[in-house]
């Protein structure tokens, strides 16, 4: 696959409305009735949307958006206010530092970076959880949302290309 996975689609101009709509959809997906197993393993959609836009629209989507989306997630998930906001800020910090590499990386490399970026948010939430309900158990299962998020990052451009009738480059 070619260097920029999403770049060309995102560069085509993403008005504020489209970005806002993507966050709305991400939040609705986050709180969809997934059933217990899927809920534990599905990607963190708002986090994924934040990472995506912060990489391809860094001037529009920054820390302010992270706090806003985080507070919305906190309100909907009924977690203490600020938990997700803080986690998303930490995540965007790392995303900002790795942003430059995304143009040079292939799909697999990008997915690995996204995995790391999403895991920083999960880790932050874990540490914050200690203040809320004592020391929660830390198992690899906690990071399955990051894994599935990275997998989605890998799979989505293939699906989008397929949908538009284009074949992925060999």
């Amino acid at each position: 696959m070619n260097a920029t996975v999403y770049g060309e689609h995102a560069e085509r101009g993403a008005p504020l409305l489209r970005i806002a709509a993507s966050f709305f959809i991400a939040l609705a997906l986050e709180f969809a009735p997934w059933g217990e197993w899927l809920f534990r393993h599905k990607p963190a959609f708002p986090a994924l949307a934040l990472v995506f836009w912060s990489i391809y629209r860094p001037r529009t989507v920054g820390y302010a958006a992270a706090v806003l989306v985080g507070v919305a997630t906190d309100l909907a998930a009924q977690t203490p206010l600020g938990f997700n906001a803080l986690a998303y800020c930490v995540m965007l910090f790392f995303a900002g530092h790795l942003r430059g590499r995304f143009a040079l990386l292939g799909a697999a490399g990008q997915a690995a970076h996204v995995l790391f970026i999403l895991a920083t948010a999960q880790m932050t939430l874990y540490v914050l959880g200690i203040f809320d309900e004592g020391l929660p158990q830390l198992t690899w299962r906690r990071f399955t949302p990051s894994l599935s998020g990275a997998a989605l990052w890998l799979a989505l451009p293939l699906l989008l290309n397929y949908w538009r009738g284009a074949r992925p480059q060999p």
């Binding site: 609705a28 986050e30 919305a72 309100l75 906001a85 800020c89 900002g96 929660p136």
Partner: protein, 274 residues
């Protein structure tokens, strides 16, 4: 470095939010109002399932409904008979309690649906579709037909979060039905859904198969909590593993029990539950 400055500003703001919410409870009232802002997400998210449920109910076969009705009529008749005898015993009980100067087992009941979306992926919590507007407050006990489920820990205007008994931070006082032995249970918190009874004296009469019922307080007295699976010998105290009576993950409709004078602040309820 304006980038770094923005990062620290956002970090500071988030930390301020957390401290004011967790430590000072600053948003206890405002949260309920703010949660109306995110109600559209919840509504949009649950819409497909609601439509599917509605369609399935609508398309249910007539024969199935007739059969169900007949079954329910029979059940109702049986329960009415049982209720008559219960009325007699309740009256007798009230009279005896009055003679002994004991308080009645007052308390109010509310019904709520369990929302299909789960409140918290990594801890034992479920979400209900009723909140402050329906008279629910933090600290109230949540039960189903089979047993105690947990306790309300957070409330918004139209939704609330219940911490299940299986959560390691949730405790409940229970008595053995057979001999009124008092035990304190807490969730195992290891994903097994079991409860642990700790600090059991080595000479206490407790064995596998014993039924445990709630002792009262915030929980409805006499409601089943669980059954002892195994007693583990230890020094200086024994402990026991307990299988909960309620079906935590499959309950769709639950009852909320408001004990007399149970209205509390969320902080106090969390403290009481721990």
């Amino acid at each position: 470095m304006p980038e770094l400055l923005r990062f620290f500003a956002a970090l500071l703001f988030s930390c301020a939010l957390i401290v004011s919410d967790l430590h000072f409870g600053a948003f206890a009232g405002a949260r309920a109002q703010m949660s109306t802002l995110v109600a559209p997400f919840r509504l949009a998210a649950e819409l497909p399932v609601r439509i599917a449920d509605g369609a399935r109910d609508y398309l249910a076969q007539r024969e199935t409904l007739v059969r169900e009705r007949d079954e329910l009529r029979l059940l109702l008749a049986q329960e009415k008979v049982r209720l008559r005898s219960l009325d007699f015993f309740t009256a007798q009980n009230d009279e005896l309690r009055a003679r002994l100067n004991l308080a009645g087992r007052g308390g109010e009941w509310l019904a709520a649906d369990v929302a299909r979306s789960i409140a918290h992926p990594h801890s034992g919590r479920i979400r209900l579709n009723k909140g402050l507007d329906d008279g629910i407050s933090a600290g109230m006990a949540v039960v189903d037909n089979d047993g105690v489920i947990g306790q309300v820990v957070r409330v918004d205007s139209s939704a609330s979060v219940v911490r299940l008994l299986s959560d390691a931070n949730q405790g409940v006082a229970a008595r053995v039905r057979r001999n009124r032995l008092l035990v304190v249970l807490r969730g195992a918190g290891d994903g097994s859904g079991e409860l642990i009874a700790e600090y059991i004296a080595r000479t206490a009469d407790l064995r596998a198969g014993d039924e445990l019922v709630a002792d009262g307080g915030l929980f409805p007295p006499g409601h089943p909590v669980g059954t002892v699976i195994e007693r583990e010998r230890g020094v200086p105290y024994d402990r026991a593993r307990v299988e909960p009576s309620a079906a935590f993950s499959s309950s769709r409709v639950v009852l909320i029990y408001a004990a007399e004078g149970a209205a509390q602040t969320p902080r106090a309820a969390e403290a009481a539950a721990q």
